[in-house]
Protein backbone atom coordinates (compact mmCIF):
# COMPACT_ATOMS: atom_id res chain seq x y z
CA UNK A 1 0.00 0.00 0.00
CA UNK A 2 2.66 2.46 1.10
CA UNK A 3 4.87 1.35 -1.72
CA UNK A 4 2.31 1.99 -4.43
CA UNK A 5 1.65 5.34 -2.83
CA UNK A 6 5.33 6.33 -3.10
CA UNK A 7 5.35 5.08 -6.66
CA UNK A 8 2.40 7.33 -7.48
CA UNK A 9 4.10 10.32 -5.88
CA UNK A 10 7.29 9.53 -7.78
CA UNK A 11 5.41 9.42 -11.06
CA UNK A 12 3.59 12.67 -10.28
CA UNK A 13 6.79 14.63 -9.63
CA UNK A 14 8.50 13.12 -12.66
CA UNK A 15 5.48 13.85 -14.83
CA UNK A 16 5.46 17.45 -13.66
CA UNK A 17 9.08 17.87 -14.80
CA UNK A 18 8.42 16.13 -18.11
CA UNK A 19 5.29 18.11 -18.89
CA UNK A 20 7.04 21.36 -18.12
CA UNK A 21 9.94 20.34 -20.32
CA UNK A 22 7.68 19.28 -23.19
CA UNK A 23 5.93 22.62 -22.97
CA UNK A 24 8.98 24.87 -22.75
CA UNK A 25 11.71 22.56 -24.16
CA UNK A 26 14.01 24.76 -22.17
CA UNK A 27 16.36 22.23 -20.60
CA UNK A 28 17.01 20.13 -23.67
CA UNK A 29 17.50 23.09 -25.98
CA UNK A 30 19.83 24.93 -23.64
CA UNK A 31 21.84 21.80 -22.88
CA UNK A 32 21.96 20.81 -26.54
CA UNK A 33 23.01 24.27 -27.60
CA UNK A 34 25.69 24.22 -24.95
CA UNK A 35 27.00 20.91 -26.33
CA UNK A 36 27.08 22.39 -29.85
CA UNK A 37 28.97 25.44 -28.64
CA UNK A 38 31.46 23.19 -26.88
CA UNK A 39 32.10 21.47 -30.18
CA UNK A 40 32.83 24.81 -31.81
CA UNK A 41 35.34 25.40 -29.04
CA UNK A 42 36.84 21.97 -29.75
CA UNK A 43 37.29 22.96 -33.38
CA UNK A 44 39.29 25.93 -32.15
CA UNK A 45 41.26 23.74 -29.77
CA UNK A 46 42.13 21.24 -32.50
CA UNK A 47 42.55 23.82 -35.28
CA UNK A 48 46.33 23.67 -35.41
CA UNK A 49 46.67 19.98 -34.65
CA UNK A 50 46.45 19.02 -38.31
CA UNK A 51 44.54 16.26 -40.06
CA UNK A 52 47.01 13.50 -39.51
CA UNK A 53 46.34 12.78 -35.86
CA UNK A 54 43.63 10.39 -34.76
CA UNK A 55 40.73 12.34 -33.23
CA UNK A 56 39.54 9.11 -31.62
CA UNK A 57 42.46 9.39 -29.18
CA UNK A 58 41.05 12.56 -27.63
CA UNK A 59 37.38 11.95 -28.38
CA UNK A 60 36.52 10.24 -25.03
CA UNK A 61 37.97 13.15 -23.11
CA UNK A 62 36.28 15.72 -25.30
CA UNK A 63 32.81 14.23 -25.05
CA UNK A 64 32.99 13.83 -21.29
CA UNK A 65 34.18 17.38 -20.83
CA UNK A 66 31.18 18.51 -22.86
CA UNK A 67 28.81 16.24 -20.92
CA UNK A 68 30.00 17.21 -17.47
CA UNK A 69 29.59 20.92 -18.10
CA UNK A 70 26.34 20.36 -19.92
CA UNK A 71 25.02 18.32 -16.99
CA UNK A 72 25.86 21.10 -14.56
CA UNK A 73 23.93 23.54 -16.68
CA UNK A 74 20.91 21.23 -16.64
CA UNK A 75 21.12 20.45 -12.93
CA UNK A 76 21.34 24.08 -12.01
CA UNK A 77 18.42 24.92 -14.28
CA UNK A 78 16.26 22.17 -12.89
CA UNK A 79 16.58 23.47 -9.33
CA UNK A 80 16.45 27.16 -10.12
CA UNK A 81 13.00 26.45 -11.56
CA UNK A 82 11.93 24.58 -8.47
CA UNK A 83 13.09 27.39 -6.26
CA UNK A 84 11.80 30.32 -8.30
CA UNK A 85 8.34 28.87 -8.61
CA UNK A 86 8.24 27.82 -4.96
CA UNK A 87 7.83 24.25 -6.11
CA UNK A 88 10.24 22.73 -3.58
CA UNK A 89 8.47 24.48 -0.72
CA UNK A 90 5.13 23.18 -1.92
CA UNK A 91 6.55 19.68 -2.22
CA UNK A 92 7.92 19.87 1.29
CA UNK A 93 4.56 20.95 2.66
CA UNK A 94 2.75 18.13 0.91
CA UNK A 95 2.91 14.68 2.49
CA UNK A 96 5.45 13.39 -0.03
CA UNK A 97 8.23 11.21 1.33
CA UNK A 98 11.58 12.95 1.07
CA UNK A 99 13.32 9.98 -0.62
CA UNK A 100 10.64 10.09 -3.30
CA UNK A 101 11.58 13.68 -4.12
CA UNK A 102 15.19 12.63 -4.49
CA UNK A 103 14.48 9.73 -6.80
CA UNK A 104 11.99 11.68 -8.90
CA UNK A 105 14.37 14.61 -9.43
CA UNK A 106 17.21 12.15 -10.00
CA UNK A 107 15.22 10.28 -12.66
CA UNK A 108 14.20 13.48 -14.39
CA UNK A 109 17.74 14.83 -14.50
CA UNK A 110 19.05 11.49 -15.70
CA UNK A 111 16.48 11.38 -18.46
CA UNK A 112 17.23 14.87 -19.76
CA UNK A 113 20.96 14.27 -19.58
CA UNK A 114 20.70 10.99 -21.50
CA UNK A 115 18.49 12.54 -24.17
CA UNK A 116 20.96 15.34 -24.84
CA UNK A 117 23.93 12.94 -24.73
CA UNK A 118 22.33 10.62 -27.25
CA UNK A 119 21.46 13.55 -29.49
CA UNK A 120 24.87 15.18 -29.33
CA UNK A 121 27.04 12.10 -29.91
CA UNK A 122 26.00 11.69 -33.58
CA UNK A 123 26.60 15.40 -34.06
CA UNK A 124 30.06 14.97 -32.61
CA UNK A 125 30.90 12.11 -34.96
CA UNK A 126 29.35 14.02 -37.88
CA UNK A 127 31.60 16.99 -37.15
CA UNK A 128 34.83 15.31 -36.15
CA UNK A 129 34.92 11.68 -37.21
CA UNK A 130 33.88 11.71 -40.88
CA UNK A 131 36.22 9.93 -43.24
CA UNK A 132 38.15 8.45 -40.36
CA UNK A 133 38.40 5.01 -38.92
CA UNK A 134 35.25 3.70 -37.27
CA UNK A 135 34.90 2.51 -33.71
CA UNK A 136 36.91 -0.52 -32.72
CA UNK A 137 34.23 -2.10 -30.57
CA UNK A 138 30.45 -2.38 -30.93
CA UNK A 139 28.63 0.90 -30.52
CA UNK A 140 26.37 -0.32 -27.69
CA UNK A 141 29.38 -0.27 -25.40
CA UNK A 142 29.38 3.52 -25.60
CA UNK A 143 25.73 3.41 -24.63
CA UNK A 144 26.63 1.40 -21.54
CA UNK A 145 29.19 4.02 -20.48
CA UNK A 146 26.78 6.86 -21.16
CA UNK A 147 24.16 5.28 -18.96
CA UNK A 148 26.53 4.19 -16.19
CA UNK A 149 28.28 7.52 -15.82
CA UNK A 150 25.09 9.55 -16.21
CA UNK A 151 23.55 7.72 -13.25
CA UNK A 152 26.41 8.89 -11.03
CA UNK A 153 26.39 12.40 -12.47
CA UNK A 154 22.66 12.92 -11.96
CA UNK A 155 22.56 11.18 -8.58
CA UNK A 156 25.28 13.25 -6.93
CA UNK A 157 24.33 16.26 -9.04
CA UNK A 158 20.78 16.20 -7.72
CA UNK A 159 22.04 16.42 -4.15
CA UNK A 160 24.65 19.09 -4.87
CA UNK A 161 22.36 21.23 -7.02
CA UNK A 162 19.74 21.17 -4.26
CA UNK A 163 22.37 22.66 -1.99
CA UNK A 164 24.04 25.10 -4.38
CA UNK A 165 20.77 26.61 -5.56
CA UNK A 166 20.58 28.18 -2.09
CA UNK A 167 24.11 29.61 -2.18
CA UNK A 168 25.58 32.79 -3.54
CA UNK A 169 26.84 32.23 -7.09
CA UNK A 170 24.81 29.06 -7.68
CA UNK A 171 26.35 27.68 -10.87
CA UNK A 172 29.96 28.47 -10.00
CA UNK A 173 29.44 26.86 -6.62
CA UNK A 174 28.03 23.75 -8.29
CA UNK A 175 31.16 23.47 -10.46
CA UNK A 176 33.47 23.92 -7.48
CA UNK A 177 31.80 21.10 -5.58
CA UNK A 178 30.83 18.87 -8.47
CA UNK A 179 33.93 18.53 -10.65
CA UNK A 180 36.34 17.26 -7.98
CA UNK A 181 33.72 14.92 -6.54
CA UNK A 182 33.09 13.49 -9.99
CA UNK A 183 36.75 12.93 -10.75
CA UNK A 184 36.89 9.14 -10.12
CA UNK A 185 33.73 8.59 -12.15
CA UNK A 186 34.81 10.74 -15.08
CA UNK A 187 38.24 9.17 -15.17
CA UNK A 188 36.69 5.72 -15.40
CA UNK A 189 34.11 6.87 -17.95
CA UNK A 190 36.85 8.26 -20.19
CA UNK A 191 38.80 5.02 -19.80
CA UNK A 192 35.82 2.90 -20.72
CA UNK A 193 34.86 5.14 -23.64
CA UNK A 194 38.43 5.00 -24.89
CA UNK A 195 38.44 1.20 -24.75
CA UNK A 196 35.13 1.13 -26.63
CA UNK A 197 36.26 3.59 -29.30
CA UNK A 198 39.75 2.28 -30.02
CA UNK A 199 39.12 -1.46 -29.88
CA UNK A 200 41.70 -4.16 -30.36
CA UNK A 201 42.90 -7.03 -28.22
CA UNK A 202 42.29 -6.66 -24.50
CA UNK A 203 40.10 -3.57 -24.77
CA UNK A 204 36.92 -5.43 -23.91
CA UNK A 205 38.43 -6.52 -20.60
CA UNK A 206 39.65 -2.97 -19.96
CA UNK A 207 36.20 -1.71 -20.78
CA UNK A 208 34.50 -3.92 -18.21
CA UNK A 209 37.14 -3.14 -15.61
CA UNK A 210 36.43 0.58 -15.98
CA UNK A 211 32.70 -0.12 -16.01
CA UNK A 212 33.03 -2.00 -12.72
CA UNK A 213 34.69 1.11 -11.33
CA UNK A 214 31.86 3.26 -12.67
CA UNK A 215 29.27 0.92 -11.18
CA UNK A 216 30.99 0.88 -7.80
CA UNK A 217 31.13 4.68 -7.74
CA UNK A 218 27.46 4.88 -8.76
CA UNK A 219 26.31 2.56 -6.02
CA UNK A 220 28.33 4.20 -3.24
CA UNK A 221 27.74 7.79 -4.27
CA UNK A 222 24.04 7.48 -5.07
CA UNK A 223 23.43 5.71 -1.76
CA UNK A 224 25.29 8.41 0.16
CA UNK A 225 23.52 11.15 -1.79
CA UNK A 226 20.19 9.51 -1.08
CA UNK A 227 21.02 9.24 2.61
CA UNK A 228 22.04 12.89 2.83
CA UNK A 229 19.18 14.27 0.74
CA UNK A 230 16.68 14.13 3.53
CA UNK A 231 18.84 16.39 5.70
CA UNK A 232 19.69 18.81 2.93
CA UNK A 233 16.23 19.41 1.56
CA UNK A 234 14.60 20.22 4.88
CA UNK A 235 16.62 23.31 5.80
Amino acid sequence: MAKSNSWRQFKAILRKDLVMELRTKEMVTSMGLYALLTMVVYQIALAEAGDSFDVRLVMPGLIWVAFIFMSMLGLNRSFVHEKDQGCIDALLLSPVDRPVIFFAKFAGNLLFLLVVEVLSLPVFSFLFLQGREGFGNPIWMIGVVLFGASVGISGVGTLLATMTVNTKGKDVMLAVLFVPLMYPLLRAAVGATFAAVIGGPGTVETFWLFMAWVAGFDVIMVLVAYGLYEFVIGV
Binding site: M163, T167, K168, V176, L177, V179, Y183, M221, L228, F231
Partner: protein, 230 residues
Protein backbone atom coordinates in the same frame (compact mmCIF):
# COMPACT_ATOMS: atom_id res chain seq x y z
CA UNK B 1 36.54 28.31 30.09
CA UNK B 2 39.29 26.12 31.48
CA UNK B 3 42.44 25.50 29.56
CA UNK B 4 42.81 22.08 28.09
CA UNK B 5 45.99 20.75 29.70
CA UNK B 6 46.01 17.68 27.45
CA UNK B 7 46.27 19.86 24.35
CA UNK B 8 49.30 21.66 25.74
CA UNK B 9 50.94 18.42 26.84
CA UNK B 10 50.35 16.97 23.39
CA UNK B 11 51.75 20.09 21.78
CA UNK B 12 54.93 19.88 23.83
CA UNK B 13 55.30 16.14 23.37
CA UNK B 14 54.54 16.34 19.66
CA UNK B 15 57.07 19.12 19.23
CA UNK B 16 59.65 17.10 21.12
CA UNK B 17 59.03 13.93 19.12
CA UNK B 18 59.09 15.64 15.74
CA UNK B 19 62.28 17.48 16.66
CA UNK B 20 63.81 14.20 17.79
CA UNK B 21 62.69 12.52 14.57
CA UNK B 22 64.28 15.35 12.60
CA UNK B 23 67.68 14.69 14.19
CA UNK B 24 67.24 10.93 14.01
CA UNK B 25 66.48 11.15 10.32
CA UNK B 26 69.69 12.99 9.53
CA UNK B 27 72.12 11.58 12.08
CA UNK B 28 70.93 8.10 12.95
CA UNK B 29 68.83 6.50 10.21
CA UNK B 30 71.06 5.10 7.48
CA UNK B 31 71.03 6.77 4.10
CA UNK B 32 69.60 4.88 1.17
CA UNK B 33 71.15 4.40 -2.24
CA UNK B 34 69.72 4.11 -5.73
CA UNK B 35 70.08 0.76 -7.49
CA UNK B 36 73.16 2.12 -9.27
CA UNK B 37 74.86 2.94 -5.96
CA UNK B 38 74.41 6.73 -5.90
CA UNK B 39 73.30 8.19 -2.58
CA UNK B 40 69.59 9.01 -2.32
CA UNK B 41 69.62 12.01 -0.02
CA UNK B 42 66.08 13.12 -0.92
CA UNK B 43 64.75 10.01 0.81
CA UNK B 44 65.09 12.04 4.02
CA UNK B 45 61.94 13.92 3.00
CA UNK B 46 60.04 10.67 3.57
CA UNK B 47 60.35 10.97 7.37
CA UNK B 48 58.16 14.06 7.43
CA UNK B 49 56.22 13.85 4.18
CA UNK B 50 54.52 10.56 5.00
CA UNK B 51 53.58 11.41 8.63
CA UNK B 52 52.05 14.70 7.50
CA UNK B 53 50.12 12.92 4.74
CA UNK B 54 48.83 10.22 7.09
CA UNK B 55 47.84 12.90 9.58
CA UNK B 56 45.88 14.70 6.85
CA UNK B 57 43.91 11.52 6.10
CA UNK B 58 43.29 10.78 9.77
CA UNK B 59 42.15 14.28 10.68
CA UNK B 60 39.85 14.30 7.66
CA UNK B 61 37.99 11.33 9.19
CA UNK B 62 36.77 13.74 11.86
CA UNK B 63 35.26 16.02 9.26
CA UNK B 64 33.01 13.18 8.16
CA UNK B 65 32.49 11.89 11.71
CA UNK B 66 31.40 15.24 13.14
CA UNK B 67 29.44 15.91 9.95
CA UNK B 68 27.37 12.79 10.62
CA UNK B 69 27.07 13.70 14.29
CA UNK B 70 25.87 17.16 13.41
CA UNK B 71 23.23 15.86 11.02
CA UNK B 72 22.00 13.45 13.68
CA UNK B 73 21.87 15.89 16.59
CA UNK B 74 21.83 19.37 14.97
CA UNK B 75 24.09 20.67 17.72
CA UNK B 76 26.18 23.58 16.55
CA UNK B 77 29.27 22.44 18.39
CA UNK B 78 29.66 19.45 16.05
CA UNK B 79 29.60 21.69 13.02
CA UNK B 80 32.31 23.83 14.60
CA UNK B 81 34.32 20.69 15.33
CA UNK B 82 33.91 19.45 11.76
CA UNK B 83 35.00 22.82 10.43
CA UNK B 84 38.10 22.90 12.61
CA UNK B 85 38.99 19.33 11.66
CA UNK B 86 38.77 20.37 8.02
CA UNK B 87 40.97 23.39 8.72
CA UNK B 88 43.64 21.19 10.25
CA UNK B 89 43.24 18.81 7.30
CA UNK B 90 43.81 21.68 4.89
CA UNK B 91 46.93 22.67 6.78
CA UNK B 92 48.37 19.15 6.62
CA UNK B 93 47.30 18.71 3.01
CA UNK B 94 49.19 21.84 2.00
CA UNK B 95 52.31 20.68 3.85
CA UNK B 96 52.04 17.26 2.19
CA UNK B 97 51.71 18.88 -1.22
CA UNK B 98 54.66 21.19 -0.67
CA UNK B 99 57.02 18.47 0.56
CA UNK B 100 55.74 16.02 -2.05
CA UNK B 101 56.38 18.41 -4.90
CA UNK B 102 59.94 19.01 -3.73
CA UNK B 103 60.56 15.28 -3.45
CA UNK B 104 59.06 14.68 -6.88
CA UNK B 105 61.37 17.29 -8.35
CA UNK B 106 64.43 15.47 -7.01
CA UNK B 107 63.40 11.88 -7.66
CA UNK B 108 61.40 12.14 -10.88
CA UNK B 109 63.00 15.25 -12.32
CA UNK B 110 59.70 17.12 -12.64
CA UNK B 111 57.68 19.21 -10.23
CA UNK B 112 54.43 17.51 -11.04
CA UNK B 113 53.27 14.32 -12.69
CA UNK B 114 49.68 13.21 -13.31
CA UNK B 115 50.14 9.97 -11.51
CA UNK B 116 47.28 8.23 -9.64
CA UNK B 117 48.35 9.14 -6.10
CA UNK B 118 49.26 12.71 -6.98
CA UNK B 119 46.07 13.17 -8.96
CA UNK B 120 43.73 11.83 -6.30
CA UNK B 121 45.53 13.81 -3.62
CA UNK B 122 45.21 16.93 -5.73
CA UNK B 123 41.47 16.21 -5.97
CA UNK B 124 41.39 15.84 -2.19
CA UNK B 125 43.02 19.25 -1.87
CA UNK B 126 40.40 20.75 -4.16
CA UNK B 127 37.61 19.12 -2.14
CA UNK B 128 38.94 20.49 1.13
CA UNK B 129 39.19 23.96 -0.40
CA UNK B 130 35.70 23.57 -1.89
CA UNK B 131 34.40 22.83 1.62
CA UNK B 132 35.41 26.32 2.73
CA UNK B 133 34.22 27.94 -0.48
CA UNK B 134 30.83 26.33 0.16
CA UNK B 135 30.74 27.59 3.75
CA UNK B 136 31.51 31.10 2.63
CA UNK B 137 28.74 31.16 0.07
CA UNK B 138 25.86 30.22 2.38
CA UNK B 139 24.48 32.97 4.57
CA UNK B 140 21.92 31.14 6.67
CA UNK B 141 23.71 29.56 9.61
CA UNK B 142 21.78 26.31 9.77
CA UNK B 143 21.89 25.79 6.02
CA UNK B 144 25.61 26.42 6.06
CA UNK B 145 26.16 23.81 8.73
CA UNK B 146 23.95 21.19 7.07
CA UNK B 147 25.43 21.71 3.60
CA UNK B 148 28.99 21.70 4.89
CA UNK B 149 28.34 18.48 6.84
CA UNK B 150 26.82 16.80 3.80
CA UNK B 151 29.65 17.91 1.55
CA UNK B 152 32.26 16.89 4.11
CA UNK B 153 30.82 13.38 4.18
CA UNK B 154 30.78 13.16 0.37
CA UNK B 155 34.28 14.59 0.06
CA UNK B 156 35.64 12.13 2.59
CA UNK B 157 34.94 9.30 0.13
CA UNK B 158 37.96 10.48 -1.86
CA UNK B 159 40.33 10.00 1.07
CA UNK B 160 40.35 6.19 1.08
CA UNK B 161 40.51 6.21 -2.73
CA UNK B 162 43.58 8.41 -2.59
CA UNK B 163 45.10 6.32 0.17
CA UNK B 164 44.65 2.93 -1.46
CA UNK B 165 45.06 3.88 -5.10
CA UNK B 166 48.81 3.18 -5.12
CA UNK B 167 47.98 -0.33 -4.01
CA UNK B 168 45.27 -0.85 -6.64
CA UNK B 169 46.83 0.64 -9.75
CA UNK B 170 50.22 0.72 -11.35
CA UNK B 171 51.54 3.78 -9.63
CA UNK B 172 55.12 4.97 -9.60
CA UNK B 173 54.51 6.61 -6.22
CA UNK B 174 56.40 4.43 -3.71
CA UNK B 175 54.43 2.16 -1.40
CA UNK B 176 56.66 1.54 1.58
CA UNK B 177 54.38 -0.55 3.74
CA UNK B 178 52.83 -2.74 1.08
CA UNK B 179 53.57 -5.99 2.87
CA UNK B 180 55.27 -8.89 1.19
CA UNK B 181 58.80 -9.35 -0.13
CA UNK B 182 61.17 -6.40 0.27
CA UNK B 183 58.65 -4.03 1.78
CA UNK B 184 58.99 -2.22 5.06
CA UNK B 185 62.06 -0.48 6.41
CA UNK B 186 65.21 -1.14 8.33
CA UNK B 187 64.62 -0.99 12.08
CA UNK B 188 66.32 2.35 12.70
CA UNK B 189 64.49 3.92 9.75
CA UNK B 190 61.21 2.47 10.95
CA UNK B 191 61.73 3.82 14.47
CA UNK B 192 62.54 7.27 13.12
CA UNK B 193 59.44 7.16 10.98
CA UNK B 194 57.22 6.03 13.85
CA UNK B 195 58.56 8.77 16.13
CA UNK B 196 57.82 11.36 13.46
CA UNK B 197 54.38 9.87 12.81
CA UNK B 198 53.35 9.77 16.47
CA UNK B 199 54.69 13.27 16.99
CA UNK B 200 52.79 14.56 13.99
CA UNK B 201 49.52 13.00 15.17
CA UNK B 202 50.01 14.58 18.58
CA UNK B 203 50.59 17.93 16.90
CA UNK B 204 47.43 17.36 14.85
CA UNK B 205 45.45 16.75 18.02
CA UNK B 206 46.96 19.79 19.71
CA UNK B 207 46.25 22.01 16.71
CA UNK B 208 42.68 20.85 16.68
CA UNK B 209 42.20 21.49 20.40
CA UNK B 210 43.89 24.88 20.27
CA UNK B 211 41.74 26.01 17.36
CA UNK B 212 38.67 24.72 19.17
CA UNK B 213 39.61 26.73 22.24
CA UNK B 214 40.09 29.83 20.13
CA UNK B 215 36.66 29.28 18.62
CA UNK B 216 35.05 28.88 22.04
CA UNK B 217 36.71 32.06 23.26
CA UNK B 218 35.48 33.95 20.22
CA UNK B 219 31.96 32.71 20.81
CA UNK B 220 32.03 33.74 24.46
CA UNK B 221 33.36 37.13 23.52
CA UNK B 222 30.54 37.62 21.04
CA UNK B 223 27.99 36.60 23.67
CA UNK B 224 29.49 39.03 26.19
CA UNK B 225 29.48 41.86 23.68
CA UNK B 226 25.80 41.31 23.02
CA UNK B 227 25.14 41.22 26.77
CA UNK B 228 26.93 44.52 27.27
CA UNK B 229 25.27 46.07 24.28
CA UNK B 230 21.83 45.49 25.77
Amino acid sequence: MKRNPLAEIMLGLGGLLTTAAFFMAFFWAPGTVYPDGRIDFAQKIFYFHVPVAEASFLVFIFTAYYGIKFLMTRKRIYDTKARIATEVTLFFVLLTMATGILWTRVEWGVWWLWEPRLTTYFILTLLVIAYFVLRNSVEDEEKRAVYASAFGILAFIDAPISFFITRWLNSIHPVVFAGGEGSGLETSMLITFIVAQVGMLMLGYAFYQLRLREEELTERLEALKIEIGD
